[in-house]
């Protein structure tokens, strides 16, 4: 049930990622709080009730302690990175004008995918941080396929990951090079594929960035004069705070699911399955969904399993 909830949230998130103004209310500071659909709200409520009932009924059992320790430590470890990502997103929102983005990465050009997948080299962002950043880039008019390529490639193809991989594998450079090259190729491939399969309007629910006038922007002064720096920074932080709260709940729910799997499923069983190459890839894909938050936060740790 939890897994279904998690999948549901992720799906919902992707679809709603770019629809801040469609049905969200706009608070005083200009951040658009997205409003979930009715069923998504019930699912989130169910999560809270389920988690609190675990606390109520099982808080003295060793299983609960294991669950709680893993859950809290995943959340604590991921939060700073997510904060960083939302801050970057906030600054992109305020400081990078739309026209520049569309000039650098024009809509409808296939080669933008190759740039998107490689942005991480100049602009290293980890997996926890990248979702808010990509969300903002999409709103700024970055082509959909290039944004997907950055979403996948950014956290792999960057100097920090190269360094931590080198440390994790005891300076085995062939693994570092393979990770970078294949990561880049997969990001480009999936980006191109997604560009072929979906249009931006179709993939991103209630696309606003195609019609810039639709997005009310209370933060931009109507006098036409550029806002003062301090004011702009304040706005960026406000956007970041709003995004942080908005996305934070998915981190909490994801971390909880990961902790449940880690508490209930013995690792020995993973190892037993890993012997069969075909199945092991399928299992890893399944695990990537189930344990996403865990993989996200430990790029330098080869020994998790």
């Amino acid at each position: 049930m939890l897994i279904l909830l998690f999948l549901y949230f992720k799906y919902d998130k992707l679809l709603n990622m770019n629809s801040p103004t469609s049905n969200g209310d706009i608070s005083k500071n200009g951040h658009d709080y997205r409003q979930s659909s009715r069923s998504s709200r019930y699912a989130q409520l169910l999560f809270v009730l389920f988690a609190l009932s675990l606390v109520f009924f099982f808080r003295y059992t060793p299983q609960f302690h294991t669950l709680g320790i893993i859950f809290v430590s995943i959340v604590l470890e991921a939060l700073p990175f997510m904060l960083l990502g939302t801050l970057i997103g906030g600054f992109i929102e305020v400081f990078i004008p739309r026209e520049k983005v569309t000039r650098w990465l024009p809509e409808g050009r296939w080669w933008t995918v190759f740039i998107g997948a490689g942005i991480g080299v100049l602009f290293p962002v980890c997996e926890c941080a990248i979702v808010p950043v990509v969300r903002k880039l999409l709103q700024k008019g970055v082509p959909f396929s290039a944004a997907i390529a950055f979403l996948l490639g950014g956290p792999i193809v960057n100097p920090l990951v190269a360094a931590s991989t080198a440390v994790a594998y005891f300076a085995d450079w062939s693994i570092v090079i393979q990770r970078m090259v294949f990561g880049y190729c997969i990001a480009v491939g999936v980006g191109l594929l997604m560009g072929l399969l979906f249009t931006k309007a179709k993939a991103v629910h209630n696309e606003v960035s195609c019609e810039p006038d639709l997005k009310p922007a209370p933060e931009i002064p109507e006098t036409g004069k550029p806002a003062a720096w301090a004011e702009k920074i304040g706005l960026a932080v406000n956007h970041a705070a709003g995004d942080f709260l908005d996305i934070g709940r998915f981190l909490v729910i994801g971390a909880f699911c990961a902790a449940v799997v880690q508490t209930l499923v013995p690792r020995q069983e993973f190892v037993a399955v890993m012997g069969t190459p075909g199945i092991s890839i399928l299992i890893m894909m399944l695990l990537a969904v189930l344990l996403l938050p865990l993989f996200l936060i430990s790029p330098g740790n080869p020994g998790t399993f």
Partner: protein, 170 residues
């Protein structure tokens, strides 16, 4: 929408509630049973040099991390080690597993280090008891695998260390 805001706050408070309920707890034999891999070395430790023993220990005591990373060096020598007891489903009354968790990144990736302890008084101890074991370090074969073990001449209970000293760190 008010309900939405309350829901958001409630979800974000869930980890805080959990943090409060687990305060002072640490990973124990339940986590060990889920995480232990049935191999000699639970993870590739060769090539990593651990920090020297944790501050709680005197010169004579080796941490399990030191024993496992320099196991060849300690083979046949007298050692003393501290850790928790795991009896598992094993009906053998003269042995138990001495374990501690090693944290690389955070508790979510903590991995157990395990040494078998052979002792006549093994049955006096229960899961998760903290003990200090003194004896001779060696290797033995259990179920076809080479494992580290201590032939203990003394096993005595010790008070559980404070939470921040229960894990070993790379």
């Amino acid at each position: 929408m008010k309900f939405e805001r309350w829901l958001l706050a409630a979800i974000l408070l869930v980890p805080v509630v959990f943090l409060w309920t687990i305060y002072g707890q640490s990973l124990g034999s339940h986590a060990l049973a889920k995480r232990a891999l049935d191999t000699n070395q639970p993870f590739p430790i060769a090539g990593i040099s651990p920090q020297r023993s944790s501050p709680a220990m005197d010169d004579k005591t080796s941490s399990l991390l030191e024993l496992m990373t320099n196991s060849e060096h300690f083979n046949g020598k007298r050692v003393a080690a501290e850790g928790m007891v795991y009896r598992g489903g094993n009906s053998d009354r003269t042995r138990f597993k001495l374990f501690r968790f090693v944290v690389v990144c955070c508790a979510a990736d903590a991995l157990p280090l395990v040494i078998w302890v052979n002792s006549k008084i093994a049955e006096k101890f229960n899961n998760d008891d903290w003990v200090r074991v003194e004896g001779t370090f060696s290797f033995e074969t259990v179920n076809g695998r080479q494992v580290a073990s201590i032939a203990a001449d003394s096993v005595r209970p010790i008070p559980a260390p404070p939470p921040e000293k229960r894990y070993l760190f790379f």
